[in-house]
Amino acid sequence: MKPEGKRQIWDEYQKDIADDNYFYVRSCVRQNFFPGAEKTFLRYMKQLGRNVFENPSHTTCSGIGYHSDIVPFETAMTMVARQFALMTEAGYENFVTSCITSFGLYTEILETWEHFPKVEEQTRVHLRNATGREFLKPKNLAHASDVTFKLRKEIADAGRYRLVNQDTGEPIRVVEHIGCHYSRMFPNKGVGGAEYPYVLVGMIEEWGGEVIDYPERRHCCGFGFRQYLVKANRGYSVSASKKKFDSMKPYKPELILTNCPGCPMFLDRWQYAISEMEGTTYGENGQGIPVMTYEELAGLILGYDPWDLGLQVHQVPVEPLLEKMGIPYDPEKKFLDIDGNFIGKPKSPSFLKFY
């Protein structure tokens, strides 16, 4: 039957996501600030019986350099072509990226090649001259959140916890933040498009939480590439995050769930910075609003230990959420090294409650 009306419109924003055998490329930001998140993604993919391959020779896609304009487009295209060559050489055709900036760049480049075949040919020449490599384009390009979205029911079925307050039985109130380069430029490449992205909403709903709408839901976190990288510009960055916090606060969110690697870092760190600048906190009783990546949340649902997920490297403590969800954790193990030795504790902020 031919789809009509809203069904037809919605069909345009469905996304074909490969079910298995992925070539995985990492994120510069996530590796630096949320190393446990990538470890967790690979852990639950293995638990769910999926094959994910990583070639240690892959590198940055140069996306942050490209979007801070020190890296020319031709260079970025050839860097991306090299990643595709590594995928081709390994015998894979489903390309999965941990980074939203990368995902946006890969999408932009594939679209450019589609519209300008001579540019693709020139990129192939560049790659051949520089490395001797050849490549096939991926049959399926996905962000790691797309894959997690696809597996959300399997994660729920295998899960030990839900996004539900154990004392009240009420769903946890979650605001989601998509990350600009997921679908703003190419809405039909993201689950749900740019105006009604569903990739995180689908996870929250499946795992028992309640999605909270608020006026500045789609506003940028404020990374802005050069607007954060250069100290003189960071007012741009913090003001964008503050606009979001001020807008979401009246709706009393208990968790901010993020898609892009950079957004959780900014939404976490700027809560600390704003508290130091103004004494303002956005959670209950001097707490912040915990911020998580979708990998970390999936790990919690599956019953992984919070400190194995890396939740101790968040500046905004996650303990209030763990307690609401009934997830056990040992505060004595929060700041231990791999051998169980205490390695000191971070200083407490002036205002933001710390554990």
């Binding site: 446990g36 964008a240 910075a273």
Partner: protein
């Protein structure tokens, strides 16, 4: 149509980004940069549509083209399929190509980005690298990052990273032969030439401004461009 405009048209991002603007201002309404800076993507596109080289040169030498955060919110909402954020990438490329970037406070910052992110790409294979994200330059990262920075090897090991080691994993040491390939890609595709232009034009400007600049990060010019806010960028001036 002047020579500058013709140069811009050689960039496919410019060709793709500018169709026909009706000046509705939707892009400005949605733009995070327009909320913070004295910046309006609508005005920028309006100037480009004049194809006037004099106005274009003024733009390329101005702070205006450096205010955008390249979030691409404008692309989603433009009713005529223009992409002001994409036009910005083309304008910034041309400004660096011609050395005009050093004529504005925000443009001069490109040297600081080149000597950090640019060097990290070639040296480590990553755009960011934890040993370089110092608490001194990043106080906003807070005490948890300071703790992590001071204990980086132990924290990374605890969280399952493969920091600075061979093989796959988080923050693995990328083999030298792969870093060599990246360098060759930069040489082949204009990345190295862009870096050299940023260096050369910045050195000329530092000399002109009488501010000390050497090849590292600990010099007066880098400190100046990394921190200086010597004019009000947020209102009409």
């Amino acid at each position: 149509m002047g020579a500058l405009y013709e140069k811009l048209r050689q960039d496919i991002r410019f060709v793709e980004g500018l169709t026909a603007c009706l000046n509705c201002g939707t892009c400005t309404a949605i733009c995070p940069a327009a909320e913070f800076y004295n910046y309006q993507p609508r005005k920028l596109v309006d100037i480009l549509q004049t194809r006037d080289d004099e106005k274009l040169m003024e733009l390329l030498k101005s702070d205006t083209i450096w205010y955008c955060g390249e979030c691409m919110s404008c692309v989603t909402r433009c009713p005529r399929n223009n992409a002001p954020g994409l036009l910005i990438t083309a304008l910034r490329s041309l400004s660096q190509e011609l050395g005009y970037f050093v004529e504005s406070e925000k443009g001069r910052q490109q040297l600081a980005i080149k000597r950090t992110v640019g060097h990290w790409i070639l040296r480590y294979g990553y755009c960011l690298y934890p040993s370089q994200i110092t608490p001194e330059n990043h106080p906003e990262q807070g005490p948890v990052w300071e703790w992590e920075f001071q204990n980086i090897e132990k924290v990374m090991e605890r969280l399952g990273a493969n920091y600075q080691k061979a093989g796959p994993g988080v923050l693995r040491a990328i083999p030298q032969e792969d870093l060599d390939e990246i360098k060759k890609i930069f040489d082949e595709t204009g990345g190295t030439a862009r870096f050299e232009k940023i260096e050369d034009f910045s050195k000329q400007k530092a000399e002109e401004m009488g501010i000390q600049l050497d090849d590292g990060l600990q010099n007066d010019y880098i400190k100046h461009i990394y921190t200086a806010v010597n004019k009000d960028h947020t209102t009409e001036s």
